[in-house]
């Protein structure tokens, strides 16, 4: 217990989430007219206001949890044979479905960050991954398994290309990767919007912006029905292990960390900083492209202008929340996935706007980025734990 109250990273993260949930609760209350009305006679009968507030907030958060992890009622229905196991596991399936692409884009940002690069371009790289994987998925018509592998590889290469360009520009001309990746985000988004309405890409018989569907053999295997979860989440866990190994055990990872921590010393010790930047951005781009590929091959199954959603930008937050460590990023992505999945249920059952989830995500990241605030509020003992600010300052 004593250790808990020292300001280590785990405690800070947990308390940041708590703070976000508390503020979120306040927002839920003040955005509900009925409950708010009860505060109108607060002094006359405070119990009304408290009861209704508690009911509202607890129902909302209960729905958030049920939507993310599972509804006990459905589980008991399953045991008594009134519901299927698929229904019982549907919430977990949703969480994992939303988390899968975020793991990849988060790893992309985290890895680049460890090498001292701020990859704002995960979005564009993911879009390129979507495009390449999607086009490969409905073009080649290869046999099962092979078709999937080709489509995934195409997605990775598409993203890698989109990462390679800013890496090369930085190495050759010193152009700052933040600027170039942002510009490439726009380029990728507009390219996708143009591409999906081109002949040969657009779904036949449709005049709206949607591409042909990815061949079944190129889709990531999924249980189907209410379970949208697909192979992508397993690939995501494997990739996390791979990135962790790359970073900590491989020669390239050593170069990344050395260049990220002190490029001058790395250069003096004979490490080519320029080469590392280029390769690192290509690998980071490939990871984001992988994320885009899982989105198209796993959930969307066709290209639309907004098929990549916000996975690249959410990846930034995920990486920051995971403190740019591979396994931390995985858990942060799962948390974000759970919030999204739970948020859907919260909106659907309690009628609370999905935007609240975005607010919760933002609040958690803000509190983690400002550890001093959390420490001050909870009077934590100082410890050597570094806040996000400290670990970011190195960049």
């Amino acid at each position: 217990m004593k250790r808990f109250w020292s300001a280590n990273n785990f405690t800070l993260t947990a308390l940041s989430m708590l703070m976000a949930v508390v503020i979120g609760g306040v927002l839920i209350i003040i955005s509900d007219a009925t409950v708010l009305a009860k505060f109108g006679y607060f002094t006359a009968r405070p119990s009304d206001a408290f009861e209704s507030s508690w009911l509202l907030v607890s129902t909302a958060y209960a729905d958030l949890l049920k939507g993310a992890l599972g509804d006990p009622a459905v589980f008991s229905a399953w045991f008594s044979g009134e519901a299927t196991w698929q229904q019982a596991f549907a919430p977990i399936s949703e969480t994992l479905t939303y988390a899968a692409p975020l793991v990849f884009t988060g790893l992309s940002v985290a890895l680049a960050f460890r090498g001292g690069l701020f990859n704002i371009g995960a979005q564009g790289q993911a879009v390129l991954g979507c495009i390449a994987a999607g086009v490969a998925g409905f073009t080649f018509g290869l046999p099962i398994a092979l078709n999937l592998i080709v489509a995934v590889v195409a997605g990775v290469l598409g993203g890698a290309l989109w990462g390679f360009i800013p890496g090369l520009l930085k190495a050759r001309t010193g152009a700052h990767e933040v600027i170039t990746t942002i510009m490439l985000n726009y380029t990728a988004g507009l390219f996708l919007a143009w591409l999906v309405i081109q002949q040969g890409i657009q779904a036949p018989g449709r005049s709206d912006a949607i591409s042909k569907a990815v061949a079944e053999s190129a889709q990531l295997p999924s249980p189907g029905g209410v379970l949208r979860v697909h192979l992508g989440i397993i690939l995501a866990v494997l990739t996390t292990a791979g990135v962790a190994w790359l970073l900590n055990k491989s020669a390239f990872g050593f170069e990344i960390r050395a260049v990220g921590a002190n490029p001058h010393a790395a250069k003096t010790a004979g490490i080519s900083v320029a080469k590392t930047y280029v390769l690192l951005m290509a690998v980071a781009g490939g990871l984001a492209g992988f994320g885009g590929a899982t989105q198209v091959l796993g959930t969307a199954h066709a290209l639309t202008p907004s098929v990549a959603g916000n996975i690249g930008f959410d990846g930034l937050l995920v990486a920051l929340l995971g403190r740019t460590r591979p396994w931390g990023t995985l858990f942060a992505a799962l948390l974000f996935g759970a919030l999204r999945a739970g948020g859907n249920r919260m909106q659907s059952f309690s009628g609370i706007s999905l935007e609240l989830v975005t607010v919760l995500q933002a609040l958690i990241v803000i509190f983690i980025a400002a550890p001093a605030l959390v420490k001050a509020i909870f009077r934590l003992r100082a410890s050597r734990a570094t806040g996000l600010g400290a670990s970011l300052a190195k960049g």
């Binding site: 055990k249 491989s250 020669a251 390239f252 050593f254 170069e255 960390r257 050395a258 921590a261 002190n262 001058h264 010393a265 790395a266 250069k267 003096t268 010790a269 004979g270 490490i271 080519s272 190195k394």
Partner: protein, 493 residues
């Protein structure tokens, strides 16, 4: 525990030197005096009055100022703006505007009163290190302090700048100010201090007067007898290893820094390059190491052309390199000692290959080197950033000497390194020479060059003015460093 029941008294108008190795607890002590740290026990008494300093603001109010080892200046601000920072002259209430004219006037006034010339309108980033330090001192003096703490002020200065600083310190004490002078450089202590307190491992181990010999002071500091002379047998030079001819190199701003240098280093000898910092030594060495573009000329290592090779290939051809700026170029502070020890060998046997790194062999190598080079750290897994400067430097030296070498280049090998470590590093360099390695040492400390070198090349404005024997009188070398050739024949060229 960084400080263990230390008592120290500073009288008005004296220079009180606080002598101790890196990590002995000098800075910790002074940070308490300046309100940056709070003591667990004991008290601070100023003019017979016990005081508690919660922040530097309190310390300044009590008349105590401090100039840190790393300057606390904003590079893009002018001198006057930096000095005003934290005590801005504001007109028109809390939301008023800065009174720049008055700040400027204050600066000029203070600098004239104490004879510390500074240009109030110059940008900090344009000033040399010595001038920046002067700005820090003026900044403290404008706060009307009586006691000035100078934390390792000469660590970053050239010999000339050091001399100027000592003059300033003398004039300040003459005007009644007291100075606490933190250092580990014995010569300076003897030259300026009125009283000397020696600290070792957080405790006062003795006080001394300025006429104590350097050997005695060093022994007090390190806790054992230290040899200040470099002990070495006469060199037995062999074949020519490094041959530099007609080398021309530009600095970062595109200005010619090395302007036609010819040098030769033979196996089994130490060639020392003496010169005031900024005369092209840095650029010369960086060009040899492939870190800087060669404009013209040639660099050969036993006949192999090094120009155009990558730094990695040069290191792999049997060249060891200790860069002059340790924390900038030498170590990755966020890395462990073990990782820093393989920073240029990580992808070669036995530590790894192009793909993976073998953690076990990295660890056993670290264990071995830490013992061999007497690196003081909690464990090889400790972060290098947590080590003292001397131990960081030992990490760099250990790394660069841990493979068969043909040529060893060391720039400022003992800058910011404590006495005990200096002795050790010097002995390793001589040891390397005796193994038959060609050694090139660049140092702006003349003592070091004279002590180590078998031949001395003096550089001035990008050229080698002369190559002289270490027996040459100091004055003569000093004149050469100032660019005065006098009756010396044409020199190296």
């Amino acid at each position: 525990m960084a400080n263990d029941h230390i008592d120290i008294t500073v009288e008005p108008g004296e220079v009180h030197a606080l002598l101790g190795e890196n990590g002995a607890g000098k800075s910790t002590l002074m940070n308490q005096l300046y309100g940056l740290l709070q003591p667990d026990e004991g008290q601070i008494v100023v003019n017979d009055e016990p005081r508690v300093f919660k922040s530097p603001r309190d310390a300044i109010a009590a008349g105590i100022g401090m100039v840190h080892q790393h300057f606390m200046l904003v590079p893009v601000f002018t001198v006057a703006e930096n000095i005003a920072l934290g005590a801005e002259e504001v007109r028109g209430g809390p939301l008023g505007w800065l009174d720049r004219r008055r700040s400027r006037r204050d600066v000029i006034e203070t600098s004239e009163r104490y004879g510390l010339p500074v240009d109030p309108d110059a940008l900090i980033e344009d000033l040399p290190v010595g001038a920046q330090q002067r700005v820090e001192i003026v900044k403290a003096l404008t706060r009307e302090v009586d006691l000035l703490i100078l934390d390792e002020p000469t660590a970053v200065l050239t010999p000339q700048e050091t001399e100027e600083l000592l003059t300033v310190m003398r004039s300040l004490t003459a005007m009644g100010k007291s100075i606490v002078f933190i250092t580990h450089k014995l010569k300076e202590v003897k030259a300026i201090a009125d009283r000397i307190t020696v600290i070792r491992r957080g405790q006062v181990v003795g006080t001394a007067s300025p006429d104590t010999s350097e050997e005695e002071l060093a022994a007090l500091m390190v806790g054992r007898a230290v040899s200040l002379e470099v002990e070495k047998a006469p060199a037995e030079p062999g074949d020519s290893i490094l041959k530099i001819s007609g080398l021309v190199v530009d600095d970062d701003r595109g200005v010619r820094a090395v302007d036609g240098v010819d040098l030769e280093v033979r196996a089994g000898e130490v060639l020392g390059i003496a010169g005031v910092q900024g005369n092209g030594q840095t650029e010369l060495v960086e060009a040899v190491m492939g870190l800087r573009e060669v404009r013209a000329g040639a660099v050969h290592l036993e006949g192999e052309d090094l120009v155009g090779r990558s730094t990695k290939r040069i290191l792999r051809s049997g060249v060891g390199y200790v860069p002059e700026d340790r924390s900038h170029d030498g170590v990755v502070k966020e890395f462990s000692v073990a990782e820093n020890l393989i920073l240029d060998m990580y992808d070669r046997a036995p530590f790894g290959n192009a793909f993976r790194i073998d953690g076990d062999s990295v660890a056993s190598n670290a264990k071995h080197r830490v013992e061999q080079f007497d690196i003081r750290c909690q464990s090889p897994a400790s972060l290098v950033g947590a080590l003292s400067g001397g131990n960081q430097q030992k990490v760099v030296v250990a790394r660069e000497m841990s493979r068969p070498l043909r040529l060893f280049i060391a720039s400022q090998p003992t800058r910011g390194v404590d006495v005990g470590s200096i002795e050790f590093i010097h002995s390793r360099i001589i040891h390397e020479r005796d193994q038959g390695t060609a050694v090139l040492v660049v140092s702006s400390e003349l003592d070091e060059v004279v002590g180590l070198a078998d031949r001395i090349a003096v550089m001035y404005r990008g050229r080698v003015l002369a190559i002289v024997s270490p027996d040459t009188p100091r004055e003569e070398i000093g004149l050469l460093m100032a660019g005065i050739t006098g009756d010396t024949p044409e020199g190296a060229k």
